[in-house]
């Protein structure tokens, strides 16, 4: 390598690598050590306690409630989002036979469906907090009350609140995957659909025999994204629900417990231990998802 070349490479890499080491790598590395300490308070110095935090964590009911909620979201959010998005993408592209044009108004539908994706999660959380209001001033409860039903405590009923969270998460995510899957379907050659249609395949058969298998790679990527998003849920819970994860811990998630433990209780060691658990869940999920969904790639 010539002298000028080396200087150029070093010069271009110096700032990004330095920023990345200081603000990303160093904190992650420290977190694993802090998880082994009893560090509390902003000024106190940490003492090494080994795996004590993890021992306590295994007996911490609130944390396991949060883990349970994350796992529920991890299963249901991708399932619902991918299911609904596939359905709409299939409709929009006329089951693939429409080519790039799709059905009438497909561009309009795609534009509308995608819009929630560009809104901040914090904004969506406040918006739905109002939509879910428990009395007749709530967008959803007003018609229920008018029809003579009992109002639903979307965010105040401990048996309902988590489902409300799930609903909002799916509401925001669907449009992105409709667009993603539409692009995938549009890239499948039209001849395949036409040949199958001539052979007498119906709408459902086209979907399961052609669209789904040829879209598998894209679906797989979407699944991993959604799963990781389900493990990282924070703003929607923190902003929308009572007591930041309530009522009575019925909607709390790992990220909310980590933030609460670190920045409201100032138990830094304990919060980092929770972070380490979340880390292993994320890595575990990603590895599992990639393993399970590995299958032969269909070239077309």
């Amino acid at each position: 390598m010539s002298h000028g070349r080396l200087r150029f490479v070093t010069g271009f890499l110096a700032v990004p690598v330095a920023l990345y080491l200081i603000y990303v790598i160093a904190p992650y590395a420290q977190a694993f050590y802090i998880a082994l300490t009893d560090w509390r308070g902003v000024t106190a110095s940490p003492g090494f306690v080994g795996l004590e935090n993890f021992r306590r964590l295994f007996a911490d009911d609130v944390f396991w409630t949060a883990v349970g909620h994350n796992l529920l979201l991890l299963i249901l959010m991708p399932l619902l989002t991918v299911g609904i998005a596939l359905f709409f993408a299939f409709l929009l592209n006329a089951g693939g036979r429409g080519g790039a044009a799709g059905v009438w108004g497909s561009k309009f539908y795609r534009v509308v469906f995608f819009f929630p994706q560009v809104l901040a999660v914090a904004v969506v959380a406040v918006l739905f907090q109002q939509v879910f209001r428990p009395d007749r001033s709530g967008m959803l409860n007003a018609p229920l009350i008018a029809l003579g039903f009992e109002p639903v405590g979307f965010l105040s009923d401990t048996g309902v609140a988590l489902w409300s969270i799930l609903g909002v998460l799916v509401w925001q995510a669907v449009g992105f995957y409709v667009v993603l899957f539409s692009a995938g379907i549009a890239s499948i050659p039209r001849d395949l659909f036409e040949a199958a249609a001539i052979d007498g395949a119906g709408g459902a058969q086209l979907f399961f025999r052609i669209t789904l298998p040829l879209l598998w790679d894209t679906i797989q990527v979407g699944w991993v994204y959604l799963g990781i998003a389900a493990l990282d849920v924070f703003a929607i819970v923190w902003v929308m629900t009572a007591e930041h994860g309530g009522p009575d811990h019925s909607t709390t998630v790992m990220a909310a417990e980590i933030y609460r433990t670190a920045f409201q209780y100032f138990k830094f060691g304990y919060a980092s231990a929770m972070g380490v658990v979340l880390f292993f869940f994320t890595i575990g999920f990603a590895a599992l998802a990639l393993r399970l969904s590995r299958r032969e790639r269909i070239e077309f």
């Binding site: 390598m1 070349r5 150029f8 010069g11 890499l13 700032v15 990004p16 920023l19 990345y20 200081i22 603000y23 990303v24 790598i25 904190p27 992650y28 977190a31 609904i84 359905f87 709409f88 409709l91 929009l92 036979r97 429409g98 059905v103 009438w104 108004g105 539908y109 534009v111 509308v112 469906f113 929630p116 560009v118 809104l119 901040a120 914090a122 904004v123 918006l127 109002q130 939509v131 209001r133 007749r136 001033s137 967008m139 409860n141 509401w171 709408g203 086209l206 894209t218 990527v221 924070f234 703003a235 902003v239 980590i258 933030y259 670190a262 920045f263 919060a271 380490v276 880390f279 994320t282």
Partner: protein, 303 residues
Amino acid sequence: MAEAAIPRSRALAREERRRRLGPFGVLTHLALLVWTVLVVVPIAWTFLASVKSEDEIFGDAWSLPAALRLDNWARAWDQAHIGQYMINSVVVVAFGVFGTMLFGSMAAYVLARYRFVGNRAIYLLFVSGLAFPVYLALTPLFFVVQNMGTLPVVGPFIGLNTHAGLVLVYIAYSLPFTVFFLAAFFRTLPGAVAEAAFVDGASHTRVFFQIMLPMARPGIVSVTIFNVLGQWNQYQLPLVLLNSDRSKWVLTQGIADISTAAGYDADWSALFAALSMAILPMLVVYTIFQSQIQKGLTAGALK
């Protein structure tokens, strides 16, 4: 679609029309309209509530306002400081995205097109950041930024409760995706033009800024859109790093705070106005750039 424009027979035309209507005919559009309503109504309802009086907001949710109370918007802008928060967001995102794109494209370019010892290791270091949950780093990150604040000279500008400090953190956390995406993009570019420029005596830096960067424009646009939205919508990092100085808050913090901290004496009509104010610019920008935005955000998943 020239072939579809001139239908050869009536049967073909009917077939084409049926195709455009969708696999299940009218039912297709019924299903699509249901979701359209689900998306549009909550947002439209918020805009409607933003011009209602306090009493109307606490009355029936579906009633129309008796008069348009535009003063709600004025109160949200001034008294709820939404104007200030919005300016803060614009400043932070402008510098954050500029820095991300500058440093991200520099690193990605070098990693994609130069062979040197440690190239692979540095690339993997960046890409591994894609897998880490940010919550693991929160506590140490808070102290890293606090310690940066104690540095001589630059300290007061990049510590806790400073916009520059937040910008640096945004840049660092946006690098994994930016480097990953752009490195893949730079690898696909042909090398002939750069070779010719080197022969003509252009420096490495010059080749990057004047030849390779313009050639990578589609990729740069996609990642820029991705980063603008990601940084504009960020809530967790400012919550930790700008916590104690309200005048520095970004828009997401301001909106979330009006609803969480508000008690019974809260200004609800101003809340709806503030919410509408946060949605409106996104709606306008999205309507103008929707196809680029859709492409930019989904490009990452298709790579």
